[in-house]
Symmetry: C2
């Protein structure tokens, strides 16, 4: 019988770069499950750069505090239920956190019946897939023939955005941070070109890769990458603001994208932020499309898996430094 829970708590607030010392692992007795709540065994934890932003404060959730169990989206399996809506053994997704067992309000859990690989429900069939799909097609309105540029191209969302754009007949250029990733994006994922934001002549390379300008820029990173991309946008182009990874691991984020709003006026550009939940009424459409591409082999899913709950802090720090390729997850336990 299970009697204790291991969990990662916030030990100190980061002042600049996140370090493993900002977290502490503790073992506590299992708490009671209140009425209407569920205890889940955590199976897979999603590691996302945005988790660093939760220390800075973001509009859609409360700022992290010392002592908080580190929150994270995850896949779990019900081990104890005090809700009529869930039975032991059910699979769920929700904000379960960096821990072995989570007690969560049943209203905050989403049940699912896995018909594909379990980890896919955190990546291509989870928030990452919906974010890539809606960001590119609903927000960015990518059309056949468009030049689509994606930053963080070798990351969880970027790998999917680039492939979906290719499936829609776009010309796709990835922005990434190493020569190895550049080669991988073009040779393995079918990107038309890839440029390295760490190169001295990054802006020139981006411009050469986009001779007619960028129609859709799907931006996961912000900072100088965004500044440079804005200068290469085509008239009437759309900038999809999905993430700002370059500004998360600091207490002094950049002042704001260079030349905004003037550059938007001069070239009739649109910049749009979004959350995947903005398009919840189109989830069925997105799942149908993503599952179809999975099943016919036209979408390659790249997973970057670390084994064991103890790897969570270093896993997140790695994502902030771009060490991952594809969707980083922590494998905590196998289902029963």
């Amino acid at each position: 019988m299970i009697v204790s829970n291991q969990r990662w708590r916030v030990a100190a607030m980061p002042s600049e770069h996140l370090e493993t010392s900002h977290f502490e692992l503790e073992s506590v007795d299992l708490s009671e499950v209140p009425d209407g709540h569920i205890r889940c065994r955590v199976l897979w934890i999603s590691i996302d750069a945005a988790q660093r932003a939760w220390f800075q404060g973001v509009a859609y959730r409360s700022t992290l505090q010392v002592g908080d169990t580190m929150p994270a989206f995850a896949i779990g399996q019900v081990v104890e239920s005090r809700s009529k809506d869930f039975a032991v053994g059910d699979f769920v997704t929700g904000h379960l956190g960096w821990q072995d067992y989570a007690v969560v309000d049943a209203d905050d859990l989403h049940p699912f019946v896995p018909t594909r690989k379990l980890s896919y429900y955190l990546s291509v069939l989870g928030i990452t897939g919906l974010t890539a799909y809606f960001g590119l097609l609903a927000v960015g309105e990518a059309k056949p023939g468009d030049t689509v540029v994606v930053s963080g191209a070798a990351g969880a969302t970027g790998t999917l955005v680039g492939q979906i754009a290719k499936l829609h007949g776009c010309r796709v250029i990835g922005i990434c941070g190493s020569k190895e990733k550049q080669e991988w994006l073009t040779s393995e994922l079918g990107f038309d070109a890839a440029v390295n934001y760490r190169d001295d002549d990054f802006r020139k390379s981006l411009k050469e890769a986009c001779p007619d300008g960028i129609d859709v820029f799907f931006d996961n990173v912000g900072g100088t990458t965004l500044d440079n991309a804005l200068s290469v946008m085509a008239n009437g182009g759309r900038v999809v603001c999905c993430g700002v990874v370059s500004q998360y691991d600091t207490t002094n984020p950049a002042r704001g994208a260079r030349g905004v709003p003037g550059i938007l006026i001069g070239k009739s550009l649109t910049m749009s932020g979004f959350l995947y939940t903005d398009f919840a009424d189109r989830n069925d459409e997105a799942y149908h499309a993503l599952q179809g591409w999975l099943d016919d082999g036209s979408l390659t899913v790249t997973e970057d898996i670390l084994e064991g709950l103890e790897k969570a802090p270093e896993g997140l720090i790695g994502v902030l430094n771009g060490t991952n390729v594809g969707k980083r997850m922590i494998h905590v336990a196998d289902p029963v």
Copy 2:
């Protein structure tokens, strides 16, 4: 018989604030009219803050140089025609510049038959009216019940945006730079409220005037006004980027709107730049609506007229400092 033309040329490039010494008035012999060209008597000159930006360089036109005749949109009347498309006496609009007579390629002129007050074809029935109409309704997608905030509210575009928003059932708050303008916007133009960006508690006042947040921010000024408005936007709000007046009269424009792109993601905001020409296929719709509101008295047109070509430089400097109320124009001559 006319033999000479007076024109304002650029005498020096401004390094910081624009001054009258940056222009010189000269008298030159009339030039020949080449085949396919037209000589126009300039009647009304539009004075727009954007003319200062033309010294900085903007994407949609070449940067001004010392010696250039100062360009400006204007109303003219044909005095000599070497094009079959125009006859002496025809009225035209086009980029005629700060001068008495302009020789222009016929392809660059737009003929019109005035059925309302001539100056209206520079304001409500000209670029200003189209910009207000398309910016608010096509770009900003203002709907009944929306909270609409407009900066530069007492200016040429702002006065029209606010009134059109009221006609569409929106709640309208104007941002301006004096107590007199605040009172005028609410008492004369029907704005629901007006706040002064020069007040110490500007952000607080703006927030109080928009308890549910801003749905559409029509921005003519940029800078700290934009920064503050972004912090008061409602989820899913739209920022219409029309002008950046606060950043024109300087050689060191602000780094970029604060918090962009992060704030766009957190609140699912869209920022869109545009030019009125983006919606040229809807001009008839816009003219029809604007003329209808003019004719039934539901739109008040505010004109700020200076007499005589010699007033052009001080007229532009005044617009940059917000001394105008409504559309500033130079009245150069009456039609024949």
